[in-house]
Structure formats: C-alpha cells, structure tokens
Point group: C2
C-alpha cells in the first residue's frame, strides 16, 4: 500500500520522495516518515498537541510540532485546548498555561532560555510536557522533541533539562549590501536588500527556523568590513523587516558599525570616540535603530584592522572606541561586540602576537556591555591553529569565541571538512590559567572568570544556494556551530551522528561510515594542505590553492614565506624564546610546553619551531619524510572518503548522492594538487629525495606556480 | 480516492502538490496531472511510446515524453520497440526508424530542424507520429506534443507541420566569470565557472531542456563586455563541459570574443585585424576552441562601443574586424555575430543615428559567415522605441534581431511586464523598403532580402534564482522570445495564453484575467515611466528609478536631459529635418510620417518632436495634461493588475501567488514613484497646474532627486 501511494505520488504529481531527487533545502529539519515499527512505538505518546495561550513564538512552536509530527508519523496530530486522554503533548510556559503552572517540573533548572521535557501523568493519563520559563525556551524544547524522533529515540520516561551555556549565540554574515558574500561559497547573500522591506522571501523564515532549532539567537546581518550605508534609514527599515520575521524565532538582529560612519553619514569632521559630537551622533543613531528594532542586539565592530577605520586613527584605544558605542546602545539594552582580530599597518615581528599585545593591557577597561570577540587562533582560521593566547588572559573582559563556519581556508564548498572536530579541539584546549582543566570552553562559557556576559559567534557559510551552504555536508558545520554554542561540552562525534541521522538516514549501515568520514575529514584537509603546524600557504588573491612560494607581497606577513620560513636547514616559524617568543603569551605551563620542540604537540611543530629537515619525528621518520608522508596521507584519506561514499548510494536520494560524489572527486583532485605543489616547493629547500614508494609531483614546480584563479569565489 | 492520495502524499512525504507551495523551478515544463475528463480523452491515443534507434537527442526526446506523459496522465506509458496495437506514439527520423521511413509524412515540409506531428494508422491501428529529418526536430516535436496536452488540445486528426523561420535562435548571457550578471535580476549566473568542468549542476540540463522546448538552439555563455580569460584553456574546458551537457538538446555554445585578446592572452603588441600575427593568433585560437567544442557556434563581438576594444582602434572598420574573426572560424563552420550597438567616444549630434551611419556604408563588405546583430531600437532597450533604422537598410548583410529579455529598463524583476507585446510591435513594424508589408520580421527571417543566414538573439534574464528569472512572470519573457525566434509571426496574445496554461492553470477563470494583465502590462510600464515617446529618463548609476533631472554627466548623451530636452516651450527630441534629422535614416515613406508631428504615431511623439506644452493631442488634451494623464493611467493599470491578481488565489499555489502579490505591491509603489517624480520635474518646465482631479506628487521634487540606490542590482 505504501509503495502504491509512492508510485501514485510520483506519477501524478512529480513530487520529490525519499528515493527521488532531493536538494538539501530542508537541512536537518527533514521530517521524513519514520519506519513503521518505530512509528508504532510513538503512537500512544503522540495523540494530541495541547497549546498554550498564544504568542508568535508559541505559535511557531505549535506550527513546527504540527508540521514535524505529521510528516514524521504520517498522522495528523490534532491541536487541542486541553488534554482529552492519553498521549497528550503539552507545550508552554507557566505564564501561558495554567496546566503547566500546576505541574511539578522544577522549571528553575531551565533558566531563562532553557526547557524541560518530561514524561508524566496529567489526570492519570500519560503525557509529554515541553515547558520553559520563556516562550523561546518552549520553541527550543519543541525542536528537541522533534530531534528525538528524527534520531529514533524512544519517547519513554523523558526527563530532559537543557539550557544554553552561552548567552549570545550568533551568526556573523560577512554579507555586503550588493549581495556579495565575502568568503561566501554558497551563492549570493540570502538578504535580498533590494527587495526589502517589501518582499519577505520565505527563506528568511526558514533561516530563522533553522537557527532556532539549534538555539542560535542572533544574526549579524552585515559584513565586518562594514559599510555605513547599512545604518541609513532606508537600510534600517530593511533590517527591521528581517527582525520582524526573525522575532518569533528568538533571533535578534545585529549590525556591523563602520567606525567612520559619523563622518560618512553624519557629515562630521571626525569619528574620534571622545568627541562630543561623535558621541551624540552615535547616541542618536542608536536611538533611531531601536525605534525601528526594539530588540536590536547591538553592534559588531572590526576596527583598525585590514584598513578599517577605528579609534586608533585618533590615538584612542580599542576600549575608547568600544565604550563610546557601548554608551550609545546601553540605554536600550544593547551590546557592543568588538573584534580582537587586528593587525597594524606596520609589519610586526610576529603577527600572531599582535592581538594579545593590544588587548591584554585593556583588560578591565571595557564597559559592562562590551564583549571582545576572539578568533579561535591567533592567525586567521587556518585548518589548524593552537588556541588564541587571549583566552585566559583577559579575566575581566568577556571574551566571545569567533569560529569560522565558512571554509575560507579549508577548500571552499567542494571539500568535505566537518568542522565539529576543529571547534571541539579549540574549546577543549587547556589554557592552564587556573590549573589543569582551565579550558577555552570554560573561558567562553564564563565559568573560569565569572564573565558577566558570554557568547559564541560563527562566521556564516549560508547563501542563496538551494542547499543553503554550497554543499550538503557544509550544513553540518552550521549545525555543529549551533549545537556547540548551546553547549560547548558536546562531542563533535555525537553531533555528527545526530546530524547524519536527521539529514540523511538512521540506517546504521549509512550512519557509521559517514560519521567516520566526517570525523576524519578535517584532519585530512590539514594533512593535504598544511600538516605539522604549517599555516597560511595560500596563493595570492584567493584562499583556494597553494602558493607557499609567494614572497613578493608588500607586507612581510602577507607572504606564505613569512609563515613557513623554509630554508635549506629546515622549516617552520620559531615562536620560541629564541624566535618571536609568541609562546610567552600563553600561561607559563603552556608556554614551556610550546617552547620545547620535544614537548610541542606534533600537530603544532612547525607553528612554534623552525625544525631541521632531519629532525626525528614521533613516527621515527625525519621531518622531510614525515612531511611527504602527511601530505600523501591526506590525499589517501580523501580517496577513502570518496570510495566510502560511492558505496552508499542505496541509502541516499539520487540528487544529494550525485553532488557529494562530484564534490569528493573535486576534493581528491585538489588534495593531490595541494600535496604535489607543496612537496615540489619544499623539496627545493630540503634537497632530499621523496621517501621510497612516494610518487613525485605530477608536474614541475613551475606548473603549479603558473596556475592563477582570478575568479575564485568569495573574495 | 485522488484526494486521499494527495493527503497521504502530503502527510507522509511533505512533498509539494498543486495546492501547496511551488517555487517556479519547473517553468512551463510543468507536467501536472490533467483533469479526469480530458485524461479520458487522451487514453486511447497514448498507450505506448515507440522509440527509434538511439542517439542522445532521441533519448532526450524519449525521456521527456516518458516523464511528461506519465505526470500529465498519471499513467506510465511503456516504451516499446514497435507498435503493439492502438494508441502508439511513434517518434523518430527516417534514418532512425524504418517504420517512420515507410510512412507518408511528406517530411520535406519540416526542413532541417522542423517536425511533423500526424495522426494516422499503422497496421490499421490509430497512432500519432512525431517525425523529423533530424534528431533535434524530433525533440522539438516531442515538446510540441506535450504542449498540446498541457494546453488541453485534443489529440485528434493531428497534422502539424512546424519549422523555424530563423536559423540562429540564441540567448545572450551577459554573465561574467565571477558569476555577476550584468543587467541580471535573478541572482548569480547559472554558470558556476569555479566548479566547472568537474561539477555539472543538474540545472544545466534543465536549462537546455527549457531552451529546446522553445527551439532555442544556441547560448552565448559570456558577457558582451568580454573578458579574454574566457578564451584561456581552463575556461574553454569549462565551456566544453557545458557544451557536452547541452549537445543532446541542440543548444550550441557561443562565446564572446574580446577584440584585444591577442594582446592580453597572446602577448602580441597589437590586435589590428589586418596584422598577420593577429590573424594567425585567432586562427589558432579558433582551432583550439573547436578541438574542445566541435559544434561551437561562433563568436559574438561588441567592439568599439562603451569602452570595448575594436578594429577602429587601428583605423580599421567593423567589417575588417568581423571578417578577420570570420576567417578564423569559417573552416570549422562557425559564425561571427557582430553587434551594431556602437557609440563613439565623441558625443554625437544624435546618438540614435550612429549605428546606421557606421554600418550602412559597410553593407556587402562582411564575410559570408558574419551576421550583424541589431537591437530592436536605436537607443537601448527602452520600454518603447521605434524600430531600428538599420532594419531594411542592409540588404546584403544578414541582420539578426537583438531583443532584451531581461528587464534592464522595465523595472527589474519586481515589475510585471510581459514583453511579448514589445517583441511583436518591433517585428510587426513596417520598414516599407519593399513596399507595404516589408516588416522587420521579414527582414529578420530573411524573406525580404534573401539573407544567407538568419537569427534572433535575446539578452537572457536567467540566473541562479530558484525560479530562474527572478519572478514568475519573467519566465514568460524567456518563453515569448523563444517562441517568436521560432516563428516571428506568432501573436503575443496567443503566446501569453499558451504560457499561462502551461505554467499556471487552464481554468478560463484564471487564464482570461491573467492574459489580460500580461497584455496590458508593458504599456503600463511605458505610461508610468516614459509615455508618448519619452526615453532614457533613468537616474545615474542604475536603470531602476527616475532621474529626468540628471544633466551633470560627462557626455551629453549620458544625461536624461539630452533625451527629453524639456524647456519652457515644450518637451521631446526633435529628430525631424529641423533637428537631428534621424528620421532620414528610415525609408522615405516612413521618414515622411515620422517627420510630421501630425502623422507621427502618438506613442513616438516625443521621440521625434520637440512638442509645445499646449500642443493638442489626439485625446483633445494639451500635451502637459496628456502627459499627466498617461503617467497616472500607468499607475492605475498596475493597481488594477494588483487587484485582479489578488482575486485569483484559488487558482494558484500559495507560494507563487504570494510572491506575485508582493511584487505587484512593489510595482504599484514604484509606478507611483516614477509618476510623481517625473510629473514634479516636468512641471518645473510646463509651469502649469495638474489637470483637475489629478493628485499632486506625494513629495517635493527635491525628495525624489535625493533618492540614491548605490546597490541596485544588475550594474
């Protein structure tokens, strides 16, 4: 019978089906019918939905539950005013539902944004309650209940309590007003500014749904390389229209603030943060913003970095600049998020040291509603970096984590690289500043220093592409970021499993190999691009392909040669006491480890040390041989991933299967290119043969040096 | 029963259905189930599909028939090797099918690309035959059969013969290699150059299907403002991958040729078309192109216009330049399409005259495989222009028509403007050069002058947006272009009806009002933007909103004031003998008409004449009053369109209904803006009050002059 319906559906309507072409638009909110046996187990628990007194957010929760449960179970679950018997699902807050107010739920455990999901009895009948202290908590809990079903967990004896460990969980969209996305590999910006505010693309709602399903509660709409035009009345009206769409889903709008806006928009002669006119201009502008967007989150600012204007243009500090903006938004409850990613106009002895040097002296000098947003590493979202030394070094300043979800430096959209492991590695890093276990996660969630505010930002990989993120697997990185922002203690592997089950299939024959692929994938990128602590080997003008030979750019620290320092003696950047001494920015216990070539984790070897070519590595191989081995291994892992996926066609719809296949073929080809180009180049210094059994690069070095990609996306 | 299947389909699979959200991706190839009664009438005629010996094109025809017939009828029609009884649909060529070779089809009527669809008997059993002299003709005929069903025409006594009246039916994509589409309002370019040739987006196939369904047989992939990089080996490989996808659908790839490519790519010191090295370079380049793309169509060239390099840089003529390229592609069967849209670097007395002045002296001097592509009017794709005086003036040179499908000057994606009427008006214009009835259509299809080649080009409105064209109704303009390129004699109204039926619904209660909307829509744009022959009143930096006041640009003919010439005496550009005498470029019979203010069709009044404000128009109103009346009428028609659509919700899926609603609201708002801004401005010259009953502009002139749109799309 089921089969005949499927056939009729295909034949009559040409609609997409599990076995047919899918396009990834549904993301992980893919509510395909569960198997009959599991469905039977749900039946008694899901008889009716009991709604609360309405609010847009509770309505969104009800709509999501109705839609999700109907599609997952194939039954229409009626929405009723009060439980009529067994199997009620009750959702709401004590304020919205006297029924919930009367239940023993210990809601204090849920905090302001969290929720409780409990199996209990109402009028002697079994029921499930999704309850929270706030409407948004109810929506978060509703997505959790759906996730349980999507991942095939029995709805038995539920007693789930969950609340977020960070307060500001925000996507940073580096989106320009002309819809170009800087470092975007998924098409144009989803914000169609030209048609806003009049046309509200249904995608805006689906974006907010997806964010809410993870607990993401903010979106910085505009690029950190900011454009003052986004603060003009016309654009504030557009942003307000988005905020109206997002509000029921708990997603607050933030904007980037161009520091020189008082000059560009206000006609002032200065943007000096201590100038009274400048301060008045920003106060008035903040008032204008909040008049249109009452729950506006605040401003994100990139100042005095990569050509952006900032307070240092007026010999003021970052704190002066941040506090001036903080004053402007404070009366409205807004925050200022000030980025620590700075580098000065003069070439430093070690760019890795600059943010620490500039910001640590300012600890304690920022206003109460300022957070400083710090990238996970001190350079720039490389495939692997040691944790940023600022974490643990600013106890009086709330530090937000800034992760990059978009794969600027990890192969763009076509390379499968699950970043859950990268995020996890950074969060689990131990700063040691309050003894062992002083992890970056505990800095970020405020536990270590008792921060008054906490947050995590992810640089978005979302665009107008049908599948949102440019590739199906890049959806997992949005997902992993959101889940870790909610709970930095989750494991990357558990998140991957959850995502695969929701997005593709619960069949263990699919889940197991795909999770394995994902868990190995980022390490493979590290290996085929820049193993052993190498970093920033990209060619000029894009971050797509290899250019370790580039040494002709104006600033020393724009050149890959600055970072790898290959010579006939060896390879790597000496950041120990005999070199730039960047290690001294870490807690002494960490510094001691990183300063000692024998104690440095091998994955950071060339980050911290200039290592002789014949240095013996842990494998027993000398550095040169190990380098070749790692590069080659990275390519081999991709080949294995490709073969693994190719055998999984029976579990996946044809559309997504084919695209992943095609992208893995590209990744394999480009991994080989990276490996060959880097080996060809570094061999000119090592002057050693490749170890036995390892193939020489396919082309001479000049071939790789001649490749140019003037139209690589995302620039 | 049908209803229960629908419900099951929604509940179990969440798939889209006729009554649910649609997104327009299907275009007019929307094979939704026909009504039961019509379906019964089809049953006897559609029992089995009889295939021919395979070729990729015949396979595509079979696949389309299988897919289309299954979805339209809800039955799977078996594909068999020979007819087994009544109701066979036989498709093929005499070469591919001995059965077809033996049937009395008079296939000579079908020509090289056409087809015959006939009801006849095979083995005494009724059958339908789709036959052609070429495989592509069979594919075209297959789409025709499906169109018959989509538009609910009975499959009885069929005797259809159709062949195209032009040979080259080509889309011009003004798409850059970074995926920006110049004058594109539907998102990024559909050509994802970065992922080509490795990843072949399924959209490429659907693009080719859509083109083939109309008989479009070529695609110029790249912008006429050309980039030599598109001719490098890497990009030729990418273009070849697209050509491979398109080939079964009869769509040949063309590229734009940057005239200075021999310098930029070849390292030569000159691009002089008479230089032997330059000629050798192009010959070698053509060889390289054809080695990769054996059926490459040829080069499209914009030279010595708007800053593009060209033969005049070396004191050579357009013919010298075109013939040099023509020599290069001739051995491979390629053509050169040379654009007549030129304007010199010096400001002319009348820009409208330049193309004629430059090209007419070259008539007869172009090589046999050169076509000259002429825009429908002499300025630039304005909402209305009189026909280009080159049509009829170059009997020895094949002139291709260049229409603009993308609405650069007609409100971008959000204004509903059906261009079938614009195309029809241009094609039906009478050049009079061989007496009455010497229409532009007869120039273009070669009948008038016996051209050795013929063609029609449409500047594409296609992008990566889900609905392809940025709005649902803009799909109709792609459709209308394709149908008119096949047969310039078709009526715009018939095409609109066909398109509405295929794309939305056959319900007369829907078809009638929607076709009425479409047929009035372009005239409404003319009225609210630039009625009575006004043209080019756009503000600086975009072609989005009004800027009739702009008079500060470097070149006289970049300023709207150059075109409308408003003063206290009157309005309009005197192109008569007392003015620029552009009328003299037309045949004397036409020129006489246009030169006489009393005989000039009122729609071109201000195009050809500087008219006193108190000139009495055909309505009895003086010019000023008539101008206000027309501007206001344009807005009113849009309001009527909006109300009309708002009442049609029951016939349309919610997704498309909502977007059209939202866009019509934008159009109404922007029509009012155009009307108010232009009236406010022209009133400063007419110094007359608005006629009684007409509302004053909502804002003072300064308000409209201050509006800026730095990020309007498509620039």
């Amino acid at each position: 019978m089921k089969f005949s319906i499927v056939v009729a559906c295909v034949a009559v309507f040409g609609c997409s089906l599990p076995a047919g072409a899918e396009d990834g638009y549904d993301l992980w909110l893919r509510y395909r019918a569960v198997e009959a046996s599991f469905n039977r187990s749900l039946e008694l628990s899901l008889q009716e939905l009991v709604k609360s007194a309405g609010s847009p957010t509770l309505d969104a929760a009800g709509a999501e539950l109705l839609r999700g449960l109907a599609q997952l179970t194939g039954r229409t679950i009626p929405l009723v005013g009060s439980p009529s018997g067994a199997g009620a699902v009750v959702f709401g807050t004590p304020a919205s539902s006297p029924l919930i107010a009367g239940l023993p739920l210990s809601l204090e455990r849920a905090g302001r944004e969290g929720y409780v999901i409990r199996s209990l009895h109402i009028n002697q009948q079994p029921a499930i309650v999704i309850a929270a202290n706030s409407d948004i908590g109810v929506l978060y809990g509703s997505f959790h209940l759906l996730r349980l079903i999507q991942t095939r967990q029995p709805l038995i004896a539920l007693d789930i309590v969950s609340q977020p460990r960070t307060q500001i969980r925000v996507l940073n969209h580096w989106d320009n007003l002309d819809r170009h996305v800087e470092r975007g590999y998924a098409g144009q910006s989803i914000w169609d500014w030209h048609k806003l505010p009049s046309y509200l693309d249904p995608r805006y709602t689906d974006y907010a749904r997806a964010c809410a399903s993870l607990g993401i509660n903010g979106a910085v709409l505009t690029n950190v390389n900011a454009n003052a035009t986004s603060l003009t009345p016309a654009y504030l009206q557009k942003a307000a229209a988005l905020a109206d769409v997002f509000r029921p889903y708990g997603v607050r709008v933030y904007l980037t603030a161009r520091f020189s806006a008082p000059i560009e928009l206000g006609g002032l002669k200065t943007a000096d943060p201590l100038d009274p006119q400048v301060r008045a201009w920003w106060k008035a502008k903040a008032g204008e913003v909040y008049a249109r967007i009452p729950d506006f989150g605040g401003f994100l600012v990139k100042a005095n970095s990569e050509g952006q204007p900032g307070p240092q243009d007026y010999r003021r500090t970052h704190a002066d600049g941040a506090n001036m903006l903080a004053d402007a938004v404070a009366p409205h409850g807004g925050v200022v998020i000030w980025r620590a990613f700075v580098y000065s106009n003069e070439s430093p002895d070690d760019r890795a040291k600059q943010a620490y040097n500039e910001f640590v002296p300012l600890d304690g000098r920022f206003a109460d509603n300022v957070l400083v947003q710090v990238k996970n590493g001190a350079i720039d979202f490389q495939p692997r970096e040691p944790f940023h030394p600022l974490f643990g070094a600013m106890p009086k300043t709330p530090l937000m984590m800034e992760f990059q979800i978009t794969k600027e430096y990890l192969g763009f959209a076509t390379h499968l690289a699950y970043l859950g492991t990268l995020f996890e590695e950074a969060l689990d890093s131990d700063t040691m500043v309050k003894g062992k276990g002083s992890t970056v996660a505990k800095v970020v969630d405020g536990e270590l220093h008792g921060y008054r505010m906490t947050g995590m930002a992810g640089v978005s990989n979302i665009g107008a592409d049908r599948n949102w993120t440019g590739s199906h697997f890049d959806q997992a990185n949005w997902y992993a970021f959101g889940r870790l922002a909610w709970d930095p203690g989750l494991s990357a592997q558990a998140i991957a499993q959850e995502w695969v089950r929701m997005t593709f299939s619960n069949d263990p024959a699919f889940v197991e190999p795909v999770v394995t692929m994902m868990m190995r994938s980022r390490e493979a990128v590290v290996d085929y691009m820049m193993p052993l602590g190498l970093h920033h080997l990209f060619d000029t003008g894009h971050h797509y392909g290899p250019g370790p030979w580039v040494n002709n750019l104006n600033r020393a620290d724009w050149n890959p040669t600055y970072y790898h320092r290959a010579d006939t003696n060896g390879l790597g950047f000496d950041r120990g006491p005999g070199g730039s001494n960047a290690v001294a920015q870490y807690h002494p216990k960490v510094a001691t480890q990183f300063a000692d070539i024998r104690k440095t984790p091998e994955q950071f070897l060339l980050w911290f040390h200039h290592v002789p070519w014949d240095h013996r590595t842990s494998s027993g191989r000398i550095l040169w041989d190990e380098l070749v081995h790692r590069y080659t291994h990275g390519v081999e892992v991709v080949s294995q991933m490709r073969r693994s996926w190719a055998g999984l066609g029976q579990y996946v719809d044809a559309g997504r299967f084919a695209q992943v296949n095609a992208f893995l073929a590209i990744q394999e080809q480009e991994a080989q290119w990276w490996r060959d180009a880097c080996i060809a180049y570094f061999q000119t210094f090592s002057k050693r043969p490749l170890p036995a059994g390892f193939a020489a690069p396919a082309h001479p070095l000049e071939y790789y040096q001649a490749l140019k990609f003037p139209y690589a996306p995302g620039r």
